[in-house]
Each structure stands twice: as structure tokens, then as C-alpha cells.
């Protein structure tokens, strides 16, 4: 092998196409398709009294108007409960179009199909829906109070209740030398992909075939669920995920109502139908995350070692639970991060509210868990007057304790067992990077200038590469072109580059010859999807295994053709040659020709494969009994469990003593995701994640009023950070390979955003000298906290009191 591509920071091959306007996103497809638009509930909770569509019927260009009553077959049923769980005792899932009740602002009620989106929206504006308003339930506290119910079927508004315990945590807390209690809150936010959801359905009446293009994170999931809903054979449905302008978890939820309704209407109308989500729709009828109320009780010794940890949290799951309780399960387990408490008990209630549903958003419950744990670590350090990093160190799982089994069940129902990691090593690197031990001098210099600064820290472990499996298919054409297919989708992760690096290395071909296809059920029908930082781990290993199969076949064919031993062969730049005598060689393209004996000569390459092309052994069939035609291979990778990446972040913030404006001066990241396929892509993922985390910590939140109206459902008022708000991110890597897969890789997609809220809270607390217990935080909120602190309503940190007394 010449240059090793695995591990090389090569630039992303897809970017020239994407950044020069040549991407093909969902809305770039389907010119001439009819457009769908929806009448959505303006109320958080209401009974539908009457729907009058008569005013819209005569709008020129309207093709069809559908309400729940028009739906047939399984489309008239509720959408599927994707991930059932024994603890999810009162699961509720919406209908594609609400039949009798609406449970959040934005729930679809009427579907209009028209010549274009303008006309469809005109018609929507003329449809009258009479509602009888019912009491809204907004926020965790209202859900807990259960004065009003979201669903009659869910007493106390409880969708799920789960307890996991290792040891007797409550007894351990009670017996510990020191005890603390923390009440914490983290607010709602959501991902904002540049391109919202969207679906284009093309019904081919001649073939009785449905083709769906969806801006989805799972083409196979959409295909299977739409086939089931429409009563079509799976063989008659195909789904393609085109270029996708960001997913962040919102598009792993499926099938969205629109993903079912648009194909249903396309078949019914025998016309192409397209729906593209607009930004307001994304805000009010897509998905949110993050809102939790948390109560932590912790008992610890003089060194800050956690002897018992007892956590209860109340998770706002919105109006329905189509994605089960994945988010709170992840919070409840990943909360533990790199630490090993003596005993651990976690209990959560997943609660209904009359707001947008909650499903995984990049981080998927981890930012909340890390926030609870890291706030606790800081509180312990402050209570004991110890260095915050030292307290963390005292609780670390050590490298020699790996693999480390927490004794809990993870989101995949499998043991929560860390495979590898070097937490003391990561912390040492972080402290060096941020200048932890020189902090007192840094602060003193700033204070001398009248500036107020704080240093924050946060550690996390991220379960990545969750199963059940992904597949890879690698095929060498007679030209030498290498086609790689894997079924999961791509929404910006650089799969055209990273997967090609893997295959080019495994097969010994130039990367320019490698073409990667993702998210197309025509190319790979078996797949799960792109979420949970799993693509590199699961598909990366699958394409590696498939490439190894192709390599084995190529060597077999070449050994036969060159009449040498396979062990004497190598593949360099797409040519199989004898080690030490490179003149004895045969290109992979030629082997592809030989692998597929032909009757018809349609080009020069084909001529070489026809029956009269050359000498043949007439005692054997043209294709050997144990071979298949073609130089190709397919394999699947199915991991036994998740692989656990980890990271540690530190930030220095400055808070304005007068205006309480918050500025991040430095942001440092140590990241360990095992072997790096492409360090540049990993860094990009980390940078983007930190940016998203900064949004969640300081800017973004969903502002619902008491009536359940989302007050900031536009980019004017939802403050996604600009480049001007995202700090320069300083990164360093540690590589502890995963023992769980051939490539030794772990996932990196979500890493950057996970600890940011915890880190920023830690830094602001350090700057201000009083506890931060609610995030995100805005300048006005910090200013209010200062006033409460000055009025004696908020205690000072102990170290702050000691420093100023």
C-alpha cells in the first residue's frame, strides 16, 4: 500500500459540489410536482368541532383537500410507536391528520394539494376549523401538577416511569460524611437544520411502484413504514435520501405525518406530490428537546469521592411519544460520564405536555445528564474547598478498570459497559491546554483591569455506534471504478470522504476511483440510519469488511490468472501485482472483466470476457460453483454493544460587571473517539457541535407562553448563534482505540455539543461566585441572579466567600 488514507486529514471530496450550489436537496427535486400544505392547529389543546373546507374548493389550482375522514386503510390509524419500552406505560402517538383532538400548536389537521405552494397556502387560509379549546399543559411543573391531563389515557400526565439502581444509593447517601442536594433546570431547544424536512412522492401507475425522496436520516425506515401504511409490498416501494441540509436527529424520527400523507396522496391522485417544510412548520410541528427538571442528592467523602448518587428527573416529552423514551433513558445512564459512584439510583418520569414532541436532538439526552453530573461535581468541590479538577479525578474510572460495566441497561437494552478510555490522560491534556494550573494568575490579571472572568470544566462519555447493524457493498467495475454503497444516510458528515478513505485503503485503490452512495434503498436495502454518532462505527466497519471481501476475491482471481500464490500478491493503485516483480500485474478492472464471463461483446472490455476470448478449461463452468459473477463483496457489521467515546471541555468566560453580557474568551476541547479516520472531519464535527452547544447554553430556547403558544417560532426571535457568537475552538485529541470493532473507531458526531451547557454554567458560576442552577442563561437572567444574590436570596459559593472575606 502506498499512502495510507485512513487517519489522513484530507479535504472533504463532497464540498466543492455542495458549496458551489450543485447540491441536490429535497427542494431541488420534483419540478412540476403538486405541492402540499397543511392547516395546523393554532391551539395547544382543543377539540375539533367542525372543519369547513368549502371556502377553499374554488381556489384556482387546488387539486385536493383531505381531512382525517378522507384517509383510508392504515393511513387513518395512528402513526407507529417506533420504540416501545416496558416502562412506557401510556404511549400516545398522533394521527397523520388529527381526527377529534389536537394536542399542540402545529399539529396537522387538513392537507391541501395544489398546483404550487402559493396556491396551497391560499387555500389553507380559507379553510375554517372550529375548535373548542381545552386547558393547555405547558412545562414540566404543569405536567407534574396534573391539574389538567394531556391525554385521558395517561394519568398524572405520566407517559413513562423508570427506576434503575446499582447498590443502595439512598443508604449510601445517608451514610456519607457529606451530603448535598441540587435542584436543576434545563430548558427546551431544538435543532435547526438549514433545510427542514421534506418529501417528494412519485407514484408510477404502470409499475405500481412508489418512489419516495425524503429529507430523512433513515431511508430504509421511511420505506418500510410507508409501505406498511400504504399496504404496498416492500418490493414496490423505494426511498432515496438526496443531499440533506442537516438532520441533527429531527429526521431520524419517522415516519412523519407528511412522509405518510404525501405518498398516500400521490398514489391517490396519480401525480407527483411534494411537501417542503417551511421554518415556521419546523418550529411548531417538528421536534424539540432538552427540557428537564432534575433533583440530585449526593453523598461523598472528604476527597470528594461520590459514595452515593440519587437522581430524580422529570422529562418533558411533549404531546406524543412516537420515539419512545430514548432521550430520558440516555440521560439516566450517560449522566454518569467518566465517574464511578459507589451506588447509583436514577428515577425518571417522562411527562406529557401540550407542546411539540421531544425526540433525540444531537446529544439526545446527554447534555442534560452531563449538566446534572457536572453541576454536582462543581458543588462538591466548592463544598469541600477543593480544586474542581481534583474532585473529578477522584471519581474517574481508571484505564485499568476498562472495560467498565456500570450495571445499568443502555438505550439499546444492552449492558451499559464502557469499552475503553483514559480519563486521567484526557484531563491532564485539558488542564495543559487551558492553563488550569495558572488560572489564579489569569484571573488576578483580569481583575486588575476591572474585568470579571471565570473558568469552567465539563467531562462526558458518549455511547456511540449503537447497533443493530449496517451493511456495505463494494463493487469494482471493468473500468476500475469502485462503487461503494451503505444504506444509512448522509446529512453533512463527509461520508463521501471518510468511507472512501476506508475502502481505498482496504482495497488498495486511488481514492479518486471510489464512489460512495448512501441512503438509497435501491443500492442497499438493509440499513438502520444515521443517528447516535454511529455511521463511522457501524457503516465504516461494514464497508471495510465488504472491501476486504472484494480484496480476497481479487487476489483469488489474480492468483489464478497470474498463476502465482495469493500470498505473493499485493494491490497498489488498483493493480494486483506480485510482490517483488511488479511487471507481473493485473488491474482490478481486468479482474472485474474476468469475474463476469459474457456472451455479448458490447465494448472492448466486454470482448475480453466473451466465450471465444481466450483459452478456457472446458471441464469447469464459466462461473465456478463457489463464486458469483462480478468483482464485488457485501458484508455487514453488527456490534455487540455501543462503543464509548469521551471528551473533556474547558471554557474561560468574561461577564460584564454592569450589563451582565457573557463572552466566551477561550473554548478548549480534548476529544477521544478512538482511531480517527479523518481528523479534519472529526474536528469539524467537534467545532459544529460546540457551536450548537453554545447556542443551547447562551442563546436558544423555546419560549412557550402559558397558553402553549411558541412565542419565538422564527429566526428573528429564536437566537441561533451566528459565527460571531461561536468562539474559536481549540482542540486536542487522545486516541484510545475501541476493542469492539475492526477499525478501532468510536463515534464523533454529537460529541461537541454534549458538555457545553455544563461547561458554560461552570464558568459563569466561577466568574460570579454564586451557583448557576438553570440553563440556558441570558444576560438579563444573569443580571436578575446578581440582584437576588445581592439581596441575600442566593448563597455565595464557599470559595467566593472565602476569597472575599
Amino acid at each position: 500500500m502506498t499512502t495510507k488514507l485512513f487517519g489522513a486529514p484530507i479535504t472533504r471530496r463532497e464540498d466543492p459540489r455542495l458549496v458551489s450550489g450543485n447540491g441536490k436537496y429535497l427542494d431541488d427535486l420534483g419540478a412540476g410536482a403538486l405541492a402540499a400544505a397543511f392547516v395546523r392547529s393554532p391551539y395547544a389543546h382543543a377539540r375539533i368541532v367542525d372543519i369547513d373546507v368549502s371556502g377553499a374548493l374554488d381556489v384556482e389550482g387546488v387539486v385536493a383537500i383531505y381531512t382525517h375522514e378522507d384517509l383510508d386503510g392504515a393511513v387513518a390509524d395512528r402513526l407507529p410507536l417506533l420504540i416501545p419500552h416496558p416502562a412506557l406505560t401510556a404511549p400516545m402517538v398522533a394521527y397523520p391528520l388529527a381526527p377529534t383532538h389536537v394536542k399542540h400548536v402545529g399539529e396537522p389537521v387538513v392537507m391541501v394539494v395544489a398546483a404550487d405552494r402559493y396556491v396551497a397556502e391560499d387555500a389553507c387560509g380559507r379553510i375554517r376549523v372550529d375548535y373548542e379549546q381545552l386547558p393547555p399543559v405547558v412545562g414540566v411543573e404543569a405536567a407534574r401538577a396534573a391539574t389538567h391531563l394531556v391525554h385521558e389515557e395517561a394519568p398524572g400526565n405520566v407517559a413513562a416511569h423508570l427506576v434503575q439502581e446499582v447498590g443502595d444509593a439512598r443508604a449510601a447517601v445517608a451514610a456519607a460524611p457529606h451530603r448535598l442536594e441540587l435542584d436543576l433546570f434545563i430548558d427546551r431547544s431544538a435543532s435547526m437544520p438549514m433545510e427542514g424536512k421534506g418529501v417528494l412522492a412519485q407514484w408510477n401507475a404502470d409499475d405500481q411502484m412508489m418512489r419516495i425522496y425524503s429529507s430523512t436520516q433513515t431511508a430504509t425506515g421511511v420505506r418500510a413504514s410507508v409501505a406498511a401504511k400504504l399496504g404496498l409490498p416492500l418490493a414496490k416501494v423505494e426511498c432515496i435520501a438526496p443531499d440533506i441540509g442537516g438532520g441533527f436527529g429531527a429526521k431520524i424520527m419517522h415516519p412523519w405525518a407528511e412522509e405518510v400523507l404525501v405518498p398516500w396522496a400521490a398514489r391517490r391522485l396519480n401525480r407527483d406530490v411534494k411537501w417542503v417544510e417551511d421554518r415556521r412548520e419546523h418550529f411548531i410541528s417538528s421536534t424539540h428537546e432538552r427540557s428537564q427538571v432534575q433533583h440530585v442528592e449526593v453523598g461523598f467523602d472528604d476527597d470528594g469521592r461520590v459514595l452515593g448518587l440519587d437522581v430524580t428527573f422529570w422529562h418533558d416529552n411533549g404531546a406524543y411519544t412516537p420515539y419512545g423514551i430514548i432521550v430520558p433513558i440516555i440521560t439516566s445512564t450517560q449522566l454518569l460520564g467518566p465517574y464511578k459512584p459507589g451506588a447509583y439510583r436514577v428515577e425518571f418520569f417522562s411527562l406529557y405536555t401540550t407542546t411539540v414532541i421531544v425526540t433525540p436532538y444531537r446529544g439526545a439526552g446527554r447534555p442534560q445528564g452531563v449538566y446534572a453530573m457536572e453541576r454536582t461535581m462543581d458543588a462538591i468541590a466548592d463544598y469541600l474547598g477543593k480544586d474542581r479538577a481534583d474532585v473529578r479525578s477522584a471519581n474517574f474510572i481508571l484505564p485499568e478498570e476498562m472495560p467498565y460495566d456500570h450495571g445499568l441497561l443502555f438505550q439499546d437494552g444492552r449492558p451499559y459497559k464502557y469499552d475503553s478510555g483514559d480519563f486521567p490522560g484526557s484531563l491532564a491534556k485539558l488542564k495543559a491546554l487551558v492553563g488550569w494550573d495558572e488560572w489564579a494568575d489569569y484571573r488576578a490579571a483580569a481583575e486588575a483591569e476591572g474585568r470579571r472572568v471565570g473558568l469552567g470544566i465539563g467531562c462526558y462519555v458518549e455511547g456511540t455506534g449503537v447497533g443493530p447493524y449496517e451493511g456495505g457493498h463494494v463493487q469494482v467495475e471493468t473500468s476500475g471504478r469502485v462503487n461503494v454503497a451503505t444504506g444509512l444516510t448522509t446529512q453533512g458528515q463527509g461520508h463521501q470522504t471518510a468511507f472512501a478513505q476506508i475502502v481505498a485503503d482496504e482495497l488498495g485503490v486511488p481514492i479518486d476511483d471510489v464512489y460512495v452512495t448512501t441512503g438509497d434503498t435501491r443500492k442497499m436495502a438493509y440499513a438502520v440510519g444515521t443517528f447516535a454518532s454511529r455511521a463511522a462505527v457501524v457503516s465504516g466497519n461494514a464497508v471495510a469488511l465488504a472491501a476486504r471481501a472484494v480484496r480476497a476475491k481479487a487476489l483469488r482471481l489474480a492468483a489464478n490468472a497470474l498463476e502465482v500464490d495469493e500470498a505473493d500478491l499485493e494491490i497498489v493503485d488498483g493493480i494486483v501485482r506480485v510482490v517483488g516483480s511488479p511487471e507481473s500485474a493485473i488491474p482490478l478492472g481486468t479482474l472485474s472483466v474476468l469475474s463476469n464471463p459474457l456472451r455479448y461483446a458490447f465494448d472492448e472490455a466486454a470482448k475480453a470476457a466473451t466465450q471465444f476470448a481466450g483459452a478456457a478449461d472446458f471441464s469447469k463452468p464459466p462461473v465456478a460453483d463457489d463464486e458469483e459473477p462480478g468483482l464485488e463483496g457485501r458484508d455487514f457489521f453488527s456490534p455487540t454493544q455501543s462503543t464509548f467515546a469521551n471528551g473533556m471541555h474547558a471554557a474561560i468566560v468574561e461577564t460584564d460587571p454592569v450589563t451582565a453580557e457573557i463572552t466566551i474568551l477561550r473554548y478548549c476541547v480534548i476529544h477521544d473517539c478512538g482511531n480517527l479516520i479523518n481528523p479534519m472531519i472529526v474536528e469539524g464535527q467537534v467545532h459544529g457541535g460546540v457551536g450548537q452547544g453554545v447556542g443551547g447554553a447562551l442563546y436558544e430556547r423555546m419560549v412557550y407562553d402559558d397558553a402553549g403558544q411558541l412565542l419565538n417560532a422564527s429566526f428573528m426571535d429564536f437566537l441561533m448563534p451566528y459565527a460571531s457568537e461561536v468562539p474559536h475552538v481549540e482542540t486536542d485529541h487522545l486516541m484510545t482505540p475501541s476493542p469492539l470493532n475492526p477499525l478501532g473507531v468510536k463515534g464523533a458526531g454529537e460529541a461537541g455539543c454534549i458538555p457545553v451547557t455544563a461547561v458554560i454554567a461552570s464558568a459563569i458560576e466561577d466568574a460570579e461566585g454564586f451557583p448557576i442552577r438553570s440553563m440556558p442563561i441570558s444576560p438579563v437572567e444573569l443580571w436578575e441572579l446578581r440582584r437576588r444574590h445581592a439581596a441575600g436570596e442566593l448563597p455565595s459559593l464557599r470559595r467566593h466567600t472565602a476569597a472575599t472575606s
Binding site: 402559493y118 421554518r279 453580557e661 419565538n712 428573528m716 451566528y722 457568537e725 441570558s778 438579563v780
Partner: protein
């Protein structure tokens, strides 16, 4: 997020434009840069039956600097005015404020006259127009009239422009020698609508402050001038009691609360900005006078 149907008019002259407006009256809306109007249309918060696009009208895209004022036509983009050195020399407040108008991409398309006609109390340029004692030139089939800035703004998003009128130009006044200006706003994100903003002007003669005033962004229902001379006049820029001026500012402003900040917080910000900004304007006043004298 698609607008309701409307009839699109693209007149080539101002006469043709006002003729359309005279005909359609309340149903007409003027489109220049569209940075506020187009989102409003797309969100169907407004559904005018007629859109009068004045972008093809000639003669509206010039910046003129005279001894008395800086006059800009209705099609002068924020960026064009921001980068106009003559305008900056004549009235530095223009560039100082324009740098706070959203982002460069928006300034490339949005027009200064359009943002004034929009009369948003969160807009920067209405407050600059008022503080410079500017004038709006308005044209209709009934003729042309000049409206002093102090009379132009009636309330949030409400000006005294009639339905059939187009604001064809505005004139920003110039200050006397020895006058320094400064502009600052505090926003949640760079380029956002200000939580609080202020344009300050301080005149210094013989080393002593003679006059001072300010106008505000997102702090008053309509832009108005607060005379700060009582607090600052008679003192040198070094010794002036800026805290007293800041107290006057806090008393004067009347901000609303919204999801981004409480009224109380904005009032505090107004004082904080005043205390930081007024000394800057005063120092610039001294420097401006010495530069004038050097070139005289």
C-alpha cells in the same frame, strides 16, 4: 411562508409610482430593499393587493453632501451610505450607526430611506434622523412635501406618510464644528435588533461642553431627542458628570419588555450605554474641533 397573491407594479418613474399608489390607496405597499417587507409578506402578516417596486425608478440612488446636510435617495442601500466617505466626513453618526444595522448582506440590499419609512423603534436610522434634525421628502400625485423628523414618527411602525406617498429621500442634518458623535447598541447577537441602543452627540467649545443630546433605539416608542446639556454643559469632557447624564437617560427611556429582556434591564442598559458613550462623543468633539482648526 408564501405571500398572498398581489399585483406587482414596476414603475420607471416616480410619477408612475405615485400614480399607482393614488389609485390603489390602502391596498398598496412600496417595495425598495424589502428587508422588512418581504418577511412580513411571506409570513402573511400583511397582504397588500398591490406591490409598487420602485427599484427601477431612476434618480433615487444618489448621496449628496452639502454644507447643511447629507441627502440620500430612496434607493441608496445602507452599504452605499456606510461606505460613502463624504457622507461620513459630513455626518460621522451615519457610518457609526449603519455598522449596527444587521449584517453586511442585509445592508447591501436594505435601503436607509426604507428603514426610516418603516418607522420601527428598533431601527437605527430613525433615531439618527431625529438626532440630526433631519427631513423626509415625500411625493404623491398631490405634490411633494418635506416632513421634519420630529413630526415624521407617530408610533411604533407608524409614520405620517400618507397611503399615496412615497418617501423619495431623506436629509440628515450636519452638526456645528466641535461636535462629536457616537453610537452604540447592545444586542443578544451581533447584528440583532438592539435590546438598547443610543446615538449621542456632544459639542465642545474652548474645552468645555456646551451642548449634549441623545436619541435611542428600542428604548422609546418613537425616536426623540433627549437634551443632556443640563447634566453636562459647562464641564470639561474629563470632569463631566456622565453618571448624572446616565440618570437622565434612565428616567427618559420607556422600554417595553419582550422575550429577550425585561423593561428594567433595558433601562439599566440605557444608562450603562450613556455612561460609556457620552465621554466618547465628547472626546471626539475635541478632536473634531482641532482637526477643523488644523485644516482651516
Amino acid at each position: 411562508m408564501k405571500p398572498s397573491p398581489f399585483e406587482y407594479h414596476a414603475p420607471r418613474s416616480i410619477d408612475a409610482a405615485v400614480a399607482v399608489l393614488a389609485e390603489v390607496g390602502h391596498d398598496g405597499k412600496v417595495l425598495a430593499g424589502g428587508q422588512s417587507l418581504i418577511p412580513i409578506l411571506n409570513m402573511r402578516l400583511a397582504s397588500p393587493a398591490h406591490l409598487v417596486d420602485i427599484n427601477r425608478v431612476s434618480g433615487l440612488d444618489t448621496v449628496e453632501v452639502t454644507a447643511e446636510h447629507v441627502r440620500i435617495g430612496a434607493l441608496v442601500r445602507h452599504a452605499q451610505l456606510e461606505h460613502h466617505d463624504g457622507a461620513y466626513a459630513a455626518q460621522p453618526l451615519l457610518r457609526q450607526a449603519l455598522l449596527n444595522v444587521a449584517h453586511p448582506v442585509i445592508r447591501n440590499r436594505g435601503t436607509t430611506v426604507g428603514s426610516i419609512a418603516h418607522a420601527d423603534p428598533s431601527g437605527e436610522m430613525p433615531s439618527v434622523l431625529v438626532l440630526t434634525a433631519g427631513v423626509v421628502e415625500a411625493t404623491s400625485v398631490r405634490g411633494t412635501r418635506e416632513i421634519p423628523a420630529a413630526e415624521f414618527f407617530l408610533g411604533p411602525l407608524e409614520s405620517c406618510l400618507a397611503e399615496d406617498e412615497v418617501a423619495t429621500a431623506v436629509r440628515f442634518g450636519r452638526f456645528s464644528p466641535g461636535t462629536g458623535t457616537a453610537f452604540q447598541e447592545i444586542a443578544r447577537r451581533h447584528g440583532d435588533y438592539a435590546l438598547a441602543g443610543m446615538a449621542a452627540v456632544v459639542t465642545v467649545r474652548d474645552g468645555v461642553i456646551t451642548e449634549a443630546g441623545a436619541s435611542f433605539v428600542s428604548l422609546t416608542a418613537t425616536p426623540d431627542i433627549l437634551d443632556l446639556s443640563a447634566a453636562l454643559a459647562g464641564a470639561t469632557p474629563e470632569d463631566a458628570d456622565y453618571a448624572a447624564a446616565a440618570a437622565l437617560v434612565r428616567d427618559h427611556v420607556d422600554p417595553d419588555a419582550d422575550i429577550h429582556a425585561s423593561a428594567e434591564y433595558r433601562r439599566m442598559l440605557a444608562g450603562a450605554i450613556a455612561e460609556r458613550l457620552l465621554p466618547v462623543a465628547a472626546r471626539r468633539g475635541i478632536r473634531q474641533r482641532s482637526e477643523q482648526e488644523a485644516t482651516a
